[in-house]
């Protein structure tokens, strides 16, 4: 087992690369929840640990933009954490001599991921599931995106947080008064749930409702518009589809790898766990 000193060195390296939070999960703990085919050991033979990186969240100012479109445009950037995960993988191989890979973070096929970053983040103590679509919220930063490195190196695990981050006290009070929370009321189509005795009793998230809002101009929209155009018998109407604003945005999103995901944010815009950091700014 790698020592606590080794784990600290790896974490410090990650933080020095601009990562906001870092935690370590054991593959054994992740495998208790992740199904076969989607486990770290399915990605890397003999994997023992996952170093999970959190960061890339919207700046405080991003939450204060005047329109959803602007927040959707600048609220997420997938490059920084992916770069940190790759750099950390090189570092762990060269410095410690263990096989290491960045977590494959794209979609495996269709809407299914290679593996659940939520489970990894929870098992690494970086946050707990929330009423807002089960998004993992960090106690210090609120919303974080996740990436990381899978390694054959045995490292001391951080383990899950003992206290759930969600619901916030103010949400519990609101629930007791009105049977809703800021996230549930912001998106009643995607979200439903109940709080009982100050804790999440259950939460349901409809990914199919969320998809057109979180990925308004991404790959699925592109394909649907393309099919619409192919099936359109009138040339002028076909032109209206292909030269129209939505298809133009979809093409641009894919060409520049921008505005592809996380284009909504409404369920977290009034979340007190996210906003507590934002409210401290001038």
């Amino acid at each position: 087992m790698g020592s606590m000193g080794t784990a600290s060195e790896i974490k410090e390296k990650a933080l020095a690369m601009g990562v906001r939070a870092v935690g370590i999960a054991s593959v054994e703990a992740i495998n208790r929840f992740a199904p076969p085919g989607h486990r770290p050991s399915d990605m890397l033979k003999g994997a023992r640990s996952v170093v999970v990186l959190g960061g890339g969240e919207p700046t405080g100012g991003a939450w204060r933009t005047g329109t959803n479109r602007v927040l959707g445009s600048i609220g997420y950037n997938r490059s920084q954490l992916a770069s940190a995960a790759r750099q950390l993988s090189y570092f762990m191989e060269e410095r410690h001599g263990y096989y290491t890979i960045p977590i494959p973070t794209g979609d495996w096929i269709g809407h299914y991921p290679y593996m659940s970053l939520k489970v990894c983040a929870e098992m690494a103590g970086l946050g707990t599931r929330s009423m807002a679509a089960g998004i993992v919220l960090n106690p210090q930063y609120g919303l974080l995106y996740f990436n990381g490195a899978i390694t054959t190196m045995p490292l001391p695990e951080d383990g899950p947080l003992e206290k759930p981050v969600c619901p916030h006290d103010s949400c519990v009070r609101l629930w007791e008064k009105k049977q809703t929370t800021p996230c549930l009321s912001s998106c009643p189509d995607c979200l439903s749930g109940e709080i009982e005795e100050g804790k999440i009793h259950w939460m349901e998230y409809r990914q199919d409702c969320c998809y057109p809002r979180a990925q308004t101009t991404a790959m699925d929209a592109f394909r649907k518009l393309l099919l619409e155009a192919v099936n359109e018998p009138e040339p002028e109407q076909r032109k209206a589809i292909l030269f129209g604003s939505h298809f133009t945005r979809a093409v641009r999103s894919m060409a520049y790898s921008s505005e592809l995901s996380a284009q909504c944010f409404n369920c977290l815009k009034r979340c007190p766990i996210v906003m507590k950091r934002v409210r401290r700014l001038k």
């Binding site: 929840f33 199904p35 076969p36 085919g37 989607h38 329109t67 959803n68 479109r69 927040l71 959707g72 096929i109 269709g110 809407h111 299914y112 599931r129 679509a133 089960g134 759930p164 912001s186 998106c187 804790k199 999440i200 009793h201 259950w202 939460m203 349901e204 998230y205 409809r206 990914q207 199919d208 409702c209 998809y211 057109p212 809002r213 308004t216 699925d220 929209a221 394909r223 649907k224 518009l225 619409e228 939505h246 284009q263 909504c264 409404n266 815009k269």
Partner: protein, 87 residues
């Protein structure tokens, strides 16, 4: 490259596959609720994994109508606006 699935097979199993995926996710602390993997769905419905993957992928696009994408911006902006009197 996997072959294309027949549209008859797709139509027959679309709803069954969809119900078993993670399109609707439930979280209850202390309980393990999750959508099934393609392999698990295949075993459940007596299909091959390749057939399930194709049916799921087509269904993920088919089940969400184009209008919801076209209307999404308006819906999001409407919900984004802070209620009057709030900071």
């Amino acid at each position: 490259m996997p072959g294309f699935v027949s549209i008859d097979l797709y139509n027959r199993y679309r709803e069954d596959v969809w119900k078993l995926t993670n399109a609707k996710q439930r979280f209850e602390p202390g309980k393990t609720n999750r959508g099934l993997t393609d392999k698990e769905i295949a075993s459940h419905l007596g299909l091959t994994v390749e057939e399930v993957i194709e049916i799921r992928c087509i269904g993920e696009n088919d089940k969400i109508c184009l209008k919801t994408y076209l209307d999404a911006e308006k819906t999001k902006e409407k919900r984004f606006i802070r209620p009057l009197g709030k900071k």
